[in-house]
Amino acid sequence: MGFWQRVSQLDRRWIYLAVALAVIFPLLVPMKMKLGITPEARQLYEAIETLPDSSVVMLTFDYYPSTVAETRPMSIAALHQMFRKNLKVITMTTIPLGGPSMADRTMKLMGDLYHKTYGVDYVNLGYKANYTAVLLGMGSSIESIYPSDQYGTPLANLPLMQTVKNYDQISFIFIVADNGIVDNWISIVNAQFSTPMGAGVTAVMAPKFYSYVQAKQMTGLLGGMKGAAEYEMLVNKPAMALIGMDSQSLAHLLIIGFVIAGNVAYFATRKKKESKG
Protein backbone atom coordinates (compact mmCIF):
# COMPACT_ATOMS: atom_id res chain seq x y z
CA MET A 1 0.00 0.00 0.00
CA GLY A 2 1.45 3.36 -1.12
CA PHE A 3 1.83 6.44 1.05
CA TRP A 4 -1.16 8.36 -0.38
CA GLN A 5 -3.36 5.30 -0.16
CA ARG A 6 -2.48 5.03 3.52
CA VAL A 7 -3.27 8.73 3.92
CA SER A 8 -6.65 8.36 2.18
CA GLN A 9 -7.52 5.53 4.60
CA LEU A 10 -6.40 7.41 7.69
CA ASP A 11 -8.27 6.32 10.80
CA ARG A 12 -10.67 9.09 11.80
CA ARG A 13 -9.53 8.82 15.41
CA TRP A 14 -6.23 10.44 14.38
CA ILE A 15 -8.25 13.33 12.93
CA TYR A 16 -10.21 13.66 16.17
CA LEU A 17 -6.98 13.65 18.18
CA ALA A 18 -5.46 16.35 15.94
CA VAL A 19 -8.58 18.52 16.32
CA ALA A 20 -8.56 18.09 20.09
CA LEU A 21 -4.89 19.11 20.28
CA ALA A 22 -5.44 22.07 17.94
CA VAL A 23 -8.22 23.34 20.21
CA ILE A 24 -6.63 22.63 23.59
CA PHE A 25 -3.01 23.64 22.94
CA PRO A 26 -3.65 27.38 22.28
CA LEU A 27 -5.82 27.58 25.41
CA LEU A 28 -2.82 26.42 27.46
CA VAL A 29 -0.25 28.44 25.51
CA PRO A 30 -1.94 31.60 24.14
CA MET A 31 -0.43 32.86 20.90
CA LYS A 32 -1.96 36.38 21.07
CA MET A 33 -2.26 36.86 17.34
CA LYS A 34 -3.23 40.24 15.92
CA LEU A 35 -6.85 40.62 14.92
CA GLY A 36 -8.40 43.02 12.40
CA ILE A 37 -11.79 44.64 12.89
CA THR A 38 -14.40 44.36 10.16
CA PRO A 39 -16.45 47.44 9.13
CA GLU A 40 -19.65 45.65 10.22
CA ALA A 41 -18.41 45.25 13.81
CA ARG A 42 -17.18 48.83 13.93
CA GLN A 43 -20.55 50.12 12.65
CA LEU A 44 -22.34 48.30 15.45
CA TYR A 45 -19.96 49.67 18.04
CA GLU A 46 -20.31 53.23 16.68
CA ALA A 47 -24.12 52.99 16.58
CA ILE A 48 -24.20 52.37 20.35
CA GLU A 49 -21.32 54.70 21.11
CA THR A 50 -23.12 57.65 19.51
CA LEU A 51 -26.33 57.18 21.53
CA PRO A 52 -26.98 59.93 24.08
CA ASP A 53 -26.40 59.12 27.75
CA SER A 54 -29.30 57.35 29.51
CA SER A 55 -30.83 56.18 26.23
CA VAL A 56 -32.81 52.97 26.50
CA VAL A 57 -31.47 49.98 24.59
CA MET A 58 -32.69 46.41 24.32
CA LEU A 59 -30.30 43.47 24.47
CA THR A 60 -31.69 40.07 23.58
CA PHE A 61 -30.46 36.67 24.76
CA ASP A 62 -31.85 34.65 21.88
CA TYR A 63 -29.41 31.76 22.13
CA TYR A 64 -29.16 28.25 23.48
CA PRO A 65 -26.38 27.04 25.78
CA SER A 66 -24.86 25.09 22.87
CA THR A 67 -23.51 28.28 21.29
CA VAL A 68 -22.41 30.22 24.37
CA ALA A 69 -18.77 30.07 23.26
CA GLU A 70 -19.67 32.40 20.40
CA THR A 71 -22.63 34.33 21.74
CA ARG A 72 -22.05 34.95 25.45
CA PRO A 73 -18.84 36.99 24.89
CA MET A 74 -20.91 39.22 22.57
CA SER A 75 -23.51 39.83 25.30
CA ILE A 76 -20.81 40.57 27.86
CA ALA A 77 -18.85 42.92 25.57
CA ALA A 78 -22.07 44.73 24.62
CA LEU A 79 -22.99 45.16 28.30
CA HIS A 80 -19.52 46.58 29.06
CA GLN A 81 -20.17 49.26 26.48
CA MET A 82 -23.80 49.88 27.46
CA PHE A 83 -23.21 50.15 31.21
CA ARG A 84 -20.03 52.21 30.76
CA LYS A 85 -22.09 54.65 28.71
CA ASN A 86 -24.84 54.69 31.36
CA LEU A 87 -27.41 53.34 28.93
CA LYS A 88 -30.57 51.78 30.36
CA VAL A 89 -30.80 48.15 29.31
CA ILE A 90 -33.90 46.02 28.82
CA THR A 91 -33.27 42.34 28.19
CA MET A 92 -35.53 39.56 27.00
CA THR A 93 -35.30 36.16 25.35
CA THR A 94 -37.29 34.13 22.87
CA ILE A 95 -35.57 30.91 23.97
CA PRO A 96 -37.43 28.95 26.66
CA LEU A 97 -34.61 26.55 27.52
CA GLY A 98 -31.92 28.49 29.26
CA GLY A 99 -32.60 31.91 27.79
CA PRO A 100 -33.95 33.33 31.08
CA SER A 101 -31.21 31.68 33.17
CA MET A 102 -28.42 32.98 30.94
CA ALA A 103 -29.90 36.47 30.80
CA ASP A 104 -30.36 36.47 34.58
CA ARG A 105 -26.79 35.38 35.34
CA THR A 106 -25.15 37.66 32.79
CA MET A 107 -27.17 40.72 33.79
CA LYS A 108 -26.52 40.20 37.50
CA LEU A 109 -22.80 39.71 36.86
CA MET A 110 -22.45 42.83 34.73
CA GLY A 111 -24.91 44.89 36.79
CA ASP A 112 -22.88 44.23 39.94
CA LEU A 113 -19.64 45.00 38.12
CA TYR A 114 -20.88 48.45 37.10
CA HIS A 115 -22.91 49.04 40.31
CA LYS A 116 -26.20 49.22 38.45
CA THR A 117 -29.58 48.97 40.14
CA TYR A 118 -32.17 46.50 38.94
CA GLY A 119 -35.37 48.21 37.83
CA VAL A 120 -33.66 51.57 37.44
CA ASP A 121 -30.70 50.84 35.17
CA TYR A 122 -31.73 47.50 33.75
CA VAL A 123 -34.72 45.18 33.55
CA ASN A 124 -34.94 41.52 32.61
CA LEU A 125 -38.27 40.78 30.94
CA GLY A 126 -37.58 37.06 30.61
CA TYR A 127 -39.33 34.69 28.22
CA LYS A 128 -42.77 34.65 26.63
CA ALA A 129 -44.03 32.01 24.22
CA ASN A 130 -44.77 32.66 20.55
CA TYR A 131 -42.06 35.06 19.47
CA THR A 132 -43.89 36.50 16.44
CA ALA A 133 -46.70 37.77 18.63
CA VAL A 134 -44.22 38.93 21.28
CA LEU A 135 -42.14 41.00 18.86
CA LEU A 136 -45.19 42.46 17.16
CA GLY A 137 -47.09 43.08 20.39
CA MET A 138 -44.25 45.00 22.04
CA GLY A 139 -44.66 47.54 19.24
CA SER A 140 -47.96 48.68 20.74
CA SER A 141 -47.39 47.88 24.41
CA ILE A 142 -44.58 46.00 26.16
CA GLU A 143 -46.75 45.71 29.27
CA SER A 144 -49.53 43.94 27.36
CA ILE A 145 -47.06 41.19 26.42
CA TYR A 146 -44.99 41.24 29.61
CA PRO A 147 -47.31 42.27 32.48
CA SER A 148 -44.44 41.37 34.83
CA ASP A 149 -40.69 40.88 34.56
CA GLN A 150 -38.67 37.67 34.87
CA TYR A 151 -39.05 37.73 38.69
CA GLY A 152 -42.80 38.36 38.71
CA THR A 153 -42.59 42.08 39.54
CA PRO A 154 -45.30 44.05 37.69
CA LEU A 155 -43.72 46.37 35.11
CA ALA A 156 -45.63 49.29 36.62
CA ASN A 157 -43.48 48.89 39.77
CA LEU A 158 -40.19 49.18 37.87
CA PRO A 159 -39.01 52.81 37.47
CA LEU A 160 -37.33 52.16 34.11
CA MET A 161 -40.48 50.65 32.60
CA GLN A 162 -42.61 53.64 33.58
CA THR A 163 -41.01 55.61 30.76
CA VAL A 164 -40.73 52.74 28.28
CA LYS A 165 -44.07 51.78 26.77
CA ASN A 166 -43.11 50.35 23.37
CA TYR A 167 -40.36 50.44 20.72
CA ASP A 168 -40.75 54.22 20.35
CA GLN A 169 -38.79 54.71 23.58
CA ILE A 170 -36.08 52.19 22.66
CA SER A 171 -33.13 53.75 20.81
CA PHE A 172 -31.41 50.57 19.68
CA ILE A 173 -31.90 46.82 19.75
CA PHE A 174 -28.82 44.62 20.05
CA ILE A 175 -29.81 41.08 19.11
CA VAL A 176 -27.55 38.25 20.16
CA ALA A 177 -28.90 35.09 18.58
CA ASP A 178 -28.04 31.64 17.31
CA ASN A 179 -31.21 30.98 15.32
CA GLY A 180 -33.64 32.36 12.75
CA ILE A 181 -35.22 34.83 15.17
CA VAL A 182 -33.01 37.61 13.73
CA ASP A 183 -35.11 37.54 10.53
CA ASN A 184 -38.21 38.20 12.64
CA TRP A 185 -36.57 41.06 14.48
CA ILE A 186 -35.77 42.64 11.11
CA SER A 187 -39.00 41.89 9.28
CA ILE A 188 -41.30 42.70 12.19
CA VAL A 189 -39.57 45.26 14.38
CA ASN A 190 -37.24 47.11 12.03
CA ALA A 191 -39.56 47.04 9.03
CA GLN A 192 -42.75 47.96 10.89
CA PHE A 193 -41.48 50.15 13.73
CA SER A 194 -38.20 51.48 12.24
CA THR A 195 -36.26 50.67 15.41
CA PRO A 196 -32.51 50.66 14.65
CA MET A 197 -30.87 47.33 15.36
CA GLY A 198 -27.69 45.31 15.03
CA ALA A 199 -26.93 41.68 15.67
CA GLY A 200 -24.34 39.30 16.96
CA VAL A 201 -24.87 35.84 15.48
CA THR A 202 -23.03 32.53 15.17
CA ALA A 203 -20.45 32.15 12.39
CA VAL A 204 -22.63 29.83 10.30
CA MET A 205 -25.47 32.35 10.33
CA ALA A 206 -23.43 35.47 9.63
CA PRO A 207 -23.25 35.31 5.79
CA LYS A 208 -27.03 35.60 5.56
CA PHE A 209 -27.16 38.89 7.44
CA TYR A 210 -24.65 40.76 5.29
CA SER A 211 -27.56 41.53 2.96
CA TYR A 212 -29.51 43.20 5.78
CA VAL A 213 -26.49 45.30 6.72
CA GLN A 214 -26.09 46.43 3.11
CA ALA A 215 -29.79 47.26 2.93
CA LYS A 216 -29.32 49.32 6.14
CA GLN A 217 -31.98 47.25 7.91
CA MET A 218 -29.24 46.37 10.36
CA THR A 219 -26.59 48.70 11.72
CA GLY A 220 -23.68 46.35 11.99
CA LEU A 221 -23.07 42.67 12.51
CA LEU A 222 -20.88 40.41 14.60
CA GLY A 223 -20.20 36.99 13.13
CA GLY A 224 -19.20 34.13 15.40
CA MET A 225 -16.32 34.10 17.83
CA LYS A 226 -14.35 36.40 15.53
CA GLY A 227 -17.15 38.99 15.78
CA ALA A 228 -17.20 38.61 19.56
CA ALA A 229 -13.41 39.02 19.70
CA GLU A 230 -13.64 42.15 17.54
CA TYR A 231 -16.21 43.61 19.93
CA GLU A 232 -14.06 42.76 22.94
CA MET A 233 -11.25 44.69 21.27
CA LEU A 234 -13.53 47.62 20.46
CA VAL A 235 -14.76 47.92 24.06
CA ASN A 236 -11.21 47.29 25.25
CA LYS A 237 -12.17 44.31 27.40
CA PRO A 238 -10.25 41.32 26.03
CA ALA A 239 -11.79 38.10 27.32
CA MET A 240 -12.84 34.60 26.28
CA ALA A 241 -13.53 35.30 22.60
CA LEU A 242 -10.05 36.71 22.00
CA ILE A 243 -8.51 33.73 23.82
CA GLY A 244 -10.65 31.39 21.74
CA MET A 245 -9.46 32.90 18.47
CA ASP A 246 -6.10 31.13 18.84
CA SER A 247 -7.85 27.76 19.03
CA GLN A 248 -10.05 28.68 16.11
CA SER A 249 -6.99 29.71 14.09
CA LEU A 250 -5.30 26.36 14.57
CA ALA A 251 -8.54 24.42 14.03
CA HIS A 252 -9.21 26.22 10.74
CA LEU A 253 -5.63 25.66 9.58
CA LEU A 254 -5.93 22.01 10.49
CA ILE A 255 -9.20 21.56 8.58
CA ILE A 256 -7.69 23.30 5.52
CA GLY A 257 -4.70 20.99 5.86
CA PHE A 258 -7.01 17.96 5.98
CA VAL A 259 -8.90 19.17 2.90
CA ILE A 260 -5.64 19.58 0.96
CA ALA A 261 -4.27 16.22 2.14
CA GLY A 262 -7.56 14.51 1.35
CA ASN A 263 -7.62 15.94 -2.17
CA VAL A 264 -3.96 15.13 -2.90
CA ALA A 265 -4.48 11.57 -1.66
CA TYR A 266 -7.68 11.26 -3.70
CA PHE A 267 -6.07 12.42 -6.97
CA ALA A 268 -2.83 10.49 -6.40
CA THR A 269 -4.65 7.21 -5.73
CA ARG A 270 -7.12 7.83 -8.58
CA LYS A 271 -4.24 8.37 -11.04
CA LYS A 272 -2.67 5.13 -9.88
CA LYS A 273 -5.95 3.23 -10.30
CA GLU A 274 -6.44 4.69 -13.79
CA SER A 275 -2.91 3.77 -14.89
CA LYS A 276 -3.43 0.21 -13.57
CA GLY A 277 -6.84 -0.08 -15.21
Binding site: Y64, S66, S101, H252
Partner: protein, 218 residues
Protein backbone atom coordinates in the same frame (compact mmCIF):
# COMPACT_ATOMS: atom_id res chain seq x y z
CA UNK B 1 -67.42 20.77 11.46
CA UNK B 2 -64.08 19.50 12.79
CA UNK B 3 -62.41 20.79 9.62
CA UNK B 4 -64.55 23.82 8.80
CA UNK B 5 -64.31 25.50 12.19
CA UNK B 6 -60.45 25.59 12.37
CA UNK B 7 -60.33 26.81 8.74
CA UNK B 8 -62.85 29.56 9.52
CA UNK B 9 -60.86 30.61 12.63
CA UNK B 10 -57.60 30.61 10.65
CA UNK B 11 -59.20 32.63 7.84
CA UNK B 12 -60.77 35.23 10.14
CA UNK B 13 -57.63 35.57 12.32
CA UNK B 14 -55.41 35.98 9.28
CA UNK B 15 -57.80 38.45 7.70
CA UNK B 16 -58.01 40.45 10.92
CA UNK B 17 -54.20 40.77 11.13
CA UNK B 18 -54.01 41.83 7.48
CA UNK B 19 -56.77 44.39 8.07
CA UNK B 20 -55.01 45.76 11.15
CA UNK B 21 -51.77 46.09 9.20
CA UNK B 22 -53.43 47.97 6.33
CA UNK B 23 -56.08 50.06 8.13
CA UNK B 24 -55.48 53.03 10.39
CA UNK B 25 -55.02 51.75 13.99
CA UNK B 26 -57.56 54.34 15.22
CA UNK B 27 -60.26 52.68 13.15
CA UNK B 28 -59.68 49.17 14.44
CA UNK B 29 -58.99 50.15 18.03
CA UNK B 30 -56.77 47.81 20.04
CA UNK B 31 -57.84 44.75 18.08
CA UNK B 32 -54.23 43.99 17.15
CA UNK B 33 -53.13 44.08 20.82
CA UNK B 34 -56.04 41.82 21.80
CA UNK B 35 -55.26 39.32 19.05
CA UNK B 36 -51.56 39.24 19.93
CA UNK B 37 -52.35 38.65 23.60
CA UNK B 38 -54.55 35.76 22.53
CA UNK B 39 -51.67 34.42 20.46
CA UNK B 40 -49.20 34.54 23.36
CA UNK B 41 -51.73 32.83 25.64
CA UNK B 42 -52.30 30.09 23.03
CA UNK B 43 -48.50 29.86 22.66
CA UNK B 44 -48.30 29.10 26.40
CA UNK B 45 -50.82 26.30 26.00
CA UNK B 46 -48.83 24.80 23.13
CA UNK B 47 -45.91 24.36 25.53
CA UNK B 48 -48.21 22.37 27.81
CA UNK B 49 -49.38 20.38 24.81
CA UNK B 50 -45.74 19.63 24.01
CA UNK B 51 -45.18 18.23 27.50
CA UNK B 52 -48.34 16.06 27.27
CA UNK B 53 -47.23 14.83 23.85
CA UNK B 54 -43.69 13.93 24.93
CA UNK B 55 -45.04 12.06 27.97
CA UNK B 56 -47.56 10.11 25.85
CA UNK B 57 -44.96 9.16 23.24
CA UNK B 58 -42.38 7.99 25.79
CA UNK B 59 -44.66 6.45 28.41
CA UNK B 60 -45.79 3.54 26.21
CA UNK B 61 -42.28 2.09 25.52
CA UNK B 62 -41.51 2.24 29.26
CA UNK B 63 -44.70 0.40 30.24
CA UNK B 64 -44.23 -2.23 27.52
CA UNK B 65 -40.48 -2.57 28.21
CA UNK B 66 -39.70 -2.10 24.52
CA UNK B 67 -36.11 -2.07 23.26
CA UNK B 68 -34.25 0.92 24.70
CA UNK B 69 -37.10 1.70 27.15
CA UNK B 70 -34.59 3.04 29.66
CA UNK B 71 -33.82 5.91 27.25
CA UNK B 72 -37.51 6.87 27.27
CA UNK B 73 -37.54 6.54 31.06
CA UNK B 74 -34.49 8.82 31.35
CA UNK B 75 -36.22 11.39 29.15
CA UNK B 76 -39.42 11.28 31.22
CA UNK B 77 -37.41 11.61 34.43
CA UNK B 78 -35.54 14.59 32.98
CA UNK B 79 -38.77 16.30 31.94
CA UNK B 80 -40.23 15.77 35.41
CA UNK B 81 -37.12 16.94 37.27
CA UNK B 82 -36.75 20.08 35.15
CA UNK B 83 -40.42 20.99 34.62
CA UNK B 84 -42.20 20.28 37.90
CA UNK B 85 -40.02 22.33 40.31
CA UNK B 86 -39.84 25.17 37.78
CA UNK B 87 -43.62 25.71 37.74
CA UNK B 88 -44.12 25.47 41.51
CA UNK B 89 -44.34 28.84 43.31
CA UNK B 90 -41.11 30.31 44.73
CA UNK B 91 -43.05 31.25 47.88
CA UNK B 92 -43.17 27.54 48.79
CA UNK B 93 -39.41 27.10 48.58
CA UNK B 94 -36.43 28.94 47.02
CA UNK B 95 -35.69 25.65 45.23
CA UNK B 96 -38.79 26.15 43.06
CA UNK B 97 -39.22 28.52 40.12
CA UNK B 98 -36.48 29.32 37.62
CA UNK B 99 -34.42 31.98 39.43
CA UNK B 100 -30.78 31.56 40.41
CA UNK B 101 -30.47 28.95 43.19
CA UNK B 102 -33.56 27.03 42.09
CA UNK B 103 -33.45 23.33 41.17
CA UNK B 104 -34.22 24.20 37.55
CA UNK B 105 -31.33 26.65 37.43
CA UNK B 106 -28.94 24.13 39.02
CA UNK B 107 -29.88 21.37 36.59
CA UNK B 108 -29.75 23.78 33.68
CA UNK B 109 -26.29 25.20 34.49
CA UNK B 110 -24.69 21.93 35.59
CA UNK B 111 -26.31 19.37 33.30
CA UNK B 112 -28.31 20.76 30.43
CA UNK B 113 -25.94 23.55 29.34
CA UNK B 114 -22.73 21.43 29.38
CA UNK B 115 -24.47 18.59 27.52
CA UNK B 116 -25.80 20.93 24.83
CA UNK B 117 -22.41 22.62 24.48
CA UNK B 118 -20.71 19.21 24.23
CA UNK B 119 -23.05 18.07 21.48
CA UNK B 120 -22.39 21.25 19.51
CA UNK B 121 -18.63 21.13 20.09
CA UNK B 122 -18.49 17.59 18.72
CA UNK B 123 -19.40 19.06 15.34
CA UNK B 124 -15.81 20.31 15.04
CA UNK B 125 -14.56 16.71 15.03
CA UNK B 126 -17.13 15.56 12.49
CA UNK B 127 -16.53 18.58 10.27
CA UNK B 128 -12.77 17.90 10.23
CA UNK B 129 -13.32 14.22 9.44
CA UNK B 130 -15.94 14.99 6.76
CA UNK B 131 -13.72 17.67 5.19
CA UNK B 132 -10.91 15.14 4.90
CA UNK B 133 -13.08 12.42 3.36
CA UNK B 134 -15.74 14.19 1.31
CA UNK B 135 -14.63 17.69 0.30
CA UNK B 136 -13.16 16.84 -3.14
CA UNK B 137 -12.37 19.07 -6.12
CA UNK B 138 -14.20 16.67 -8.46
CA UNK B 139 -15.70 19.35 -10.72
CA UNK B 140 -15.21 23.04 -11.55
CA UNK B 141 -18.09 24.02 -9.22
CA UNK B 142 -16.74 21.91 -6.36
CA UNK B 143 -13.27 23.41 -6.88
CA UNK B 144 -14.69 26.94 -6.78
CA UNK B 145 -16.60 26.13 -3.58
CA UNK B 146 -13.50 24.57 -2.05
CA UNK B 147 -11.31 27.56 -2.87
CA UNK B 148 -13.90 30.07 -1.58
CA UNK B 149 -14.37 28.09 1.63
CA UNK B 150 -10.60 27.98 2.16
CA UNK B 151 -10.25 31.74 1.61
CA UNK B 152 -13.16 32.57 3.96
CA UNK B 153 -11.94 30.14 6.62
CA UNK B 154 -8.51 31.72 6.53
CA UNK B 155 -9.91 35.26 6.50
CA UNK B 156 -12.03 34.59 9.60
CA UNK B 157 -9.04 33.77 11.83
CA UNK B 158 -6.07 35.95 12.88
CA UNK B 159 -3.45 33.64 11.41
CA UNK B 160 -5.08 33.70 7.97
CA UNK B 161 -5.76 37.41 8.19
CA UNK B 162 -2.06 37.95 8.94
CA UNK B 163 -1.19 35.83 5.93
CA UNK B 164 -3.43 37.90 3.64
CA UNK B 165 -2.06 41.17 5.03
CA UNK B 166 1.47 39.90 4.30
CA UNK B 167 0.43 39.40 0.67
CA UNK B 168 -1.35 42.75 0.43
CA UNK B 169 -2.58 45.02 3.24
CA UNK B 170 -6.00 45.49 1.60
CA UNK B 171 -6.66 41.82 0.86
CA UNK B 172 -8.79 41.12 3.99
CA UNK B 173 -10.99 44.13 3.17
CA UNK B 174 -11.30 43.01 -0.43
CA UNK B 175 -12.47 39.57 0.70
CA UNK B 176 -15.01 41.20 3.01
CA UNK B 177 -16.26 43.50 0.23
CA UNK B 178 -16.33 41.16 -2.74
CA UNK B 179 -16.78 37.68 -1.31
CA UNK B 180 -18.96 38.33 1.76
CA UNK B 181 -20.54 41.60 0.66
CA UNK B 182 -20.66 40.75 -3.05
CA UNK B 183 -21.15 37.18 -4.21
CA UNK B 184 -22.47 35.99 -0.85
CA UNK B 185 -25.03 38.79 -0.56
CA UNK B 186 -26.29 38.22 -4.11
CA UNK B 187 -26.98 34.56 -3.33
CA UNK B 188 -28.40 35.25 0.14
CA UNK B 189 -30.81 37.85 -1.23
CA UNK B 190 -32.13 35.32 -3.73
CA UNK B 191 -32.68 32.80 -0.92
CA UNK B 192 -34.29 35.36 1.41
CA UNK B 193 -36.67 36.67 -1.27
CA UNK B 194 -37.55 33.12 -2.32
CA UNK B 195 -38.22 32.09 1.29
CA UNK B 196 -40.35 35.21 1.89
CA UNK B 197 -42.46 34.51 -1.18
CA UNK B 198 -42.82 30.90 -0.04
CA UNK B 199 -43.91 32.03 3.45
CA UNK B 200 -46.46 34.44 1.96
CA UNK B 201 -47.83 31.70 -0.32
CA UNK B 202 -48.04 29.23 2.59
CA UNK B 203 -49.84 31.81 4.76
CA UNK B 204 -52.36 32.38 1.99
CA UNK B 205 -52.84 28.63 1.55
CA UNK B 206 -53.50 28.25 5.30
CA UNK B 207 -55.95 31.17 5.31
CA UNK B 208 -57.86 29.77 2.35
CA UNK B 209 -57.94 26.26 3.80
CA UNK B 210 -55.83 24.69 1.04
CA UNK B 211 -52.97 23.86 3.41
CA UNK B 212 -54.39 21.67 6.19
CA UNK B 213 -51.35 19.82 7.51
CA UNK B 214 -51.51 21.84 10.74
CA UNK B 215 -54.71 19.93 11.51
CA UNK B 216 -52.96 16.62 10.94
CA UNK B 217 -54.51 16.24 7.48
CA UNK B 218 -53.08 16.49 3.99
Amino acid sequence: MKTKLPIAIAFLSGLAMVAVFILNPEKVGDMEGELLQWTTVIGGFTLLLGVVSIVRVNWRPVVRRETGWFNNAALLLSVAVMAIPSVLPVSWSPLFGTDGGSMYDWFFINLSAPMMATMFAMLAFYVASAAFRAFRARSAEATLLLLTATVVMLWRVPVGEGLFVAIHSKLPNLINTYVMGGVNVAVQRGIIIGAALGAAATSLRIMLGIERTYMGKT
